[in-house]
């Protein structure tokens, strides 16, 4: 799979790789010291691949098959606490099984990087993508970033370590990729050289919080009202500082790897002079871009914003990006039953951000693609129509491609 098109100093080769393969390469290249595994589809491929690297002598790391996700993430957390770079990952209900450890990793300010292969939560059991799993930790002090191609998954994993381990941040980071659509689909991926990665990613240094006999500290002793506020506040400030570090990290990444990430927080597609904008995360991007292109050919002034960083949430940047549009349609591959106006999670975050925008566009929500259901180009085109025609009254939320009523047939109701 090699071509001469890649710069040999930066990239060792090109490879046909799935999303999870790409992340495995990043983990190997980041010289991770400890990783812990537990099986659950669809993220598991990353561990299969890492195990094979170990078996083939291509990767030097401690590898632990845990007895459950709670242990898996406690192992990674405590490996990180002794100054070892750690990696773990999960999907759906497995990620939830680890929740207690996930929360403590964040409050312990340990810069673990984890892969979430997004999957619908039980019950009923389902393999398909839904974003609620990763979103579960959105308020807990995790950085959360979505990648939508295998190359982006590789790049983002390296960037995640760079941001998470920055001394001014020290927060864990979840790299989310859509189950099935990205975990299992193959793309051509440029695999960086170790040397280039070393240039980009400094060694992990936990500094004075490292658990080692030479540094006898007590970590996470019991607090009361005496210190809790200050500790939460420090974490809050770190999350704010993370924004600046994310800018710096992408700039450095572009310099070392000659990549062309513009705004790190989101990618703007045909947003110049757009009057209507859709915004979404993950692999819905391919259908969205295709639909936008087609509609542009027909003269519709529409653009698409692919959000990468969900935490920290780029409110100011979005206000700027969407300052000229008349209406915004948010694509939620998640649900938030009973939330404000019954919209999804992303909808209400975008809405909150745009409340302070000078032009305050109309905002509507689309809930779709749940449990892995496809979102087609046609579906996106319909979302654009509904967004464009919304008069600011009536339903704000449209379920896309859902059987309504008694479930007979795929009735397509609402809006258009």
């Amino acid at each position: 799979m090699t071509t001469e098109l890649v710069d040999r100093k930066i990239y060792e080769r090109e490879e046909l790789a799935t999303g999870t393969d790409a992340v495995a390469h990043a983990v190997r290249l980041a010289d991770v010291d400890v990783f812990s595994a537990y099986p659950i589809r669809p993220y598991t491929g990353v561990m299969d691949r890492l195990a094979k690297f170990i078996a083939d002598g291509k990767f030097d790391s401690e590898y632990i098959i845990a007895d459950g996700e709670h242990s898996q993430f406690e192992i990674a957390k405590h490996a990180s606490s002794v100054g070892a770079r750690a990696f773990a990952g999960s999907s759906g209900t497995g990620w939830l099984y680890a929740t207690e450890a996930l929360a403590a990793t964040a409050t312990d300010r340990l810069p673990l990087v984890a892969l979430v292969g997004n999957r619908a939560l039980d019950d009923p059991g389902a393999f398909g993508v839904e974003h609620n799993d990763a979103m579960l930790v959105r308020d807990l002090g995790w950085l959360i970033v979505w990648a939508s191609t295998a190359q982006e998954a590789l790049d983002t994993t390296l960037i995640a370590y760079r941001v998470a381990e920055d001394p001014s941040v020290m927060m864990p980071c979840a790299v989310a990729i859509d189950g099935g659509y990205l975990t299992h689909s193959q793309h051509i991926v440029k695999i960086p050289t170790k040397e280039a990665v070393q240039k980009f990613l400094p060694p992990y240094n936990l500094g004075t919080r490292r658990m080692h006999p030479d540094n006898p500290v007590s970590i996470a002793p019991q607090i009361n009202e005496d210190w809790g506020m200050e500790i939460r506040r420090q974490n809050w400030e770190a999350a704010r500082r993370a924004r600046g570090v994310i800018y710096r990290a992408y700039k450095e990444y572009n310099e070392v790897f000659h990549s062309s990430y513009a705004n790190p927080f989101f990618e703007e597609f045909m947003m110049e002079d757009a009057e209507i904008a859709l915004i979404g995360m993950g692999t819905v991007t391919s259908a969205a871009k295709a639909a936008v292109k087609l509609l542009r050919e027909k003269g519709v002034k529409v653009g698409y914003v692919k959000l990468r960083w969900f935490r920290p949430f780029p409110a100011e940047e979005l206000r700027e990006s969407l300052s000229e549009v008349r209406a915004v349609g948010v694509i939620d591959r998640d649900f938030a039953h009973g939330g404000p106006d019954d919209g999804g999670v992303l909808f209400n975050d975008v809405r909150a951000a745009l409340y302070h925008s000078s032009n305050r566009p109309q905002i509507v929500d689309f809930i779709g693609g749940l449990a892995g259901r496809e979102i087609s180009i046609e579906d996106v085109a319909r979302m654009v129509r509904i967004t464009a025609n919304h008069k600011g009254e009536g339903e704000l939320v449209t379920w896309i491609r859902v059987r309504e009523g008694n479930g007979a047939g795929m009735e397509r109701k609402g809006g258009d």
């Binding site: 010289d31 010291d33 400890v34 632990i64 007895d67 002794v82 070892a84 750690a86 996470a220």
Partner: protein, 347 residues
């Protein structure tokens, strides 16, 4: 007739065989109390109850382990009462782990240190990795994680410190609370005298038998016999691989007695035979206080000194005594392997 498990062979069947007397030659065991180090690595700063034996379990393991040690402690009294922000008693590095996270936390630290040493990122040396978890945290919630840890080949020691209740949350019954004991979850009442009608879970042998990588499992009491517990810590740390010690910790608050009697009650727990004292070294059981050979003190003398058994009537004392007698007289390996006939081979 079915073939029952038979003594030493039964244990050896499930674990590694063979014990070498050489085993502990590098353990630097204490030979007399005068040899015990004066230096403390668990000092002032904690606010455990007077007479808290779990606190003594902490102080003694880290004394035996020395300064090149890293420790995690699961949630429980030994977290909450021990380590208040800004007043830590730990001289060695210590970190909290979640209630059921004990085993995994030790694996994480041991794996991290091994990787960093192998890759030359930190100097190569022996660092003792120790986790302590309570009877609820380690014996119930974290049992799966400890099982996972004992399946690895990392050098580490897990101590299940057993004060026989969820003490920190105000004395609730766990699966290691003794039969009949009053706790806030198992009060005595006018209709039901005995609310806690489970026999204590036999956690140490269960872990020893099921984990072929684990070369050392012991039960211990911090005060009796003298030095026994600290030497067990030294043995566990020197033998290599994952190891486990289960301690019996009198708790004045949870057991309801005056703090001055903690030492006496620990001693009685052993001498009555209600808490068997042994080590399992590579599959071989070694009684460190052999209640088969000594005249056991009647359990009543132990039980009636504790308020948690104040509701006991004659039948209850007799019942407990009969179960203890059965354990010492009829079990295949007293305290360790089950009663004859419980397990058998189908013909």
């Amino acid at each position: 007739m079915a073939q029952g498990w038979r003594g030493k062979e039964a244990i050896e069947m499930a674990t590694t065989t063979g014990v070498s007397k050489e085993e502990f030659k590098n353990a630097k065991l204490y030979k007399s109390v005068h040899g015990i180090d004066m230096e403390e690595f668990y000092t002032s700063g904690h606010r455990t109850c007077q007479g808290c034996e779990s606190a003594l379990v902490m102080r003694d393991f880290v004394k035996a382990s020395g300064p090149r040690t890293v420790v995690t402690g699961a949630t429980g009294c030994m977290y909450v009462a021990n380590t208040s922000y800004m007043t830590t008693p730990w001289v060695v590095p210590w970190m909290h782990t979640q209630l059921g996270g004990g085993g995994a936390s030790a694996v994480g630290m041991a794996a991290g240190l091994r990787a960093l040493m192998r890759k030359g990122k930190i100097p190569d040396e022996k660092i003792n990795v120790i986790n302590f978890s309570g009877d609820l945290g380690g014996g119930d919630m974290g049992l799966g994680g400890i099982s996972g840890a004992l399946q690895t080949d990392y050098d580490m020691l897990i101590i299940i410190y057993d004060n026989e209740s969820a003490a920190n949350t105000d004395i609730q019954a766990t699966n290691m609370t003794p039969w009949g004991a009053q706790t806030t979850f198992t009060p005595t009442g006018s209709k039901k005298r005995i609310m806690h009608d489970k026999w204590k879970k036999n956690v140490a042998p269960m872990l020893a038998i099921g984990h072929p990588n684990c070369k050392y499992v012991a039960t211990a009491c911090a005060t009796f016999p003298p030095m026994d517990y600290m030497n067990k810590v030294k043995k566990a740390l020197s033998i290599g691989g994952p190891t486990l010690i289960h301690t019996m910790d009198p708790c004045p608050k949870g057991w309801d007695y005056h703090p001055r009697y903690s030492g006496d009650l620990g001693q009685l727990a052993i001498k009555t035979g209600i808490f068997p004292l042994y080590e399992i070294i590579k599959g071989e059981v070694n009684y460190t206080y052999d209640a088969r050979k000594t005249k056991r003190v009647p359990v009543r003398e132990y039980l009636e000194k504790q308020g948690r058994f104040s509701h006991f009537i004659e039948d209850d004392f007799e019942f407990v005594q009969s179960r203890v007698d059965e354990m010492w007289n009829d079990w295949e390996i007293p305290g360790v392997a089950p009663i004859k006939g419980w397990l058998s081979v189908r013909r």
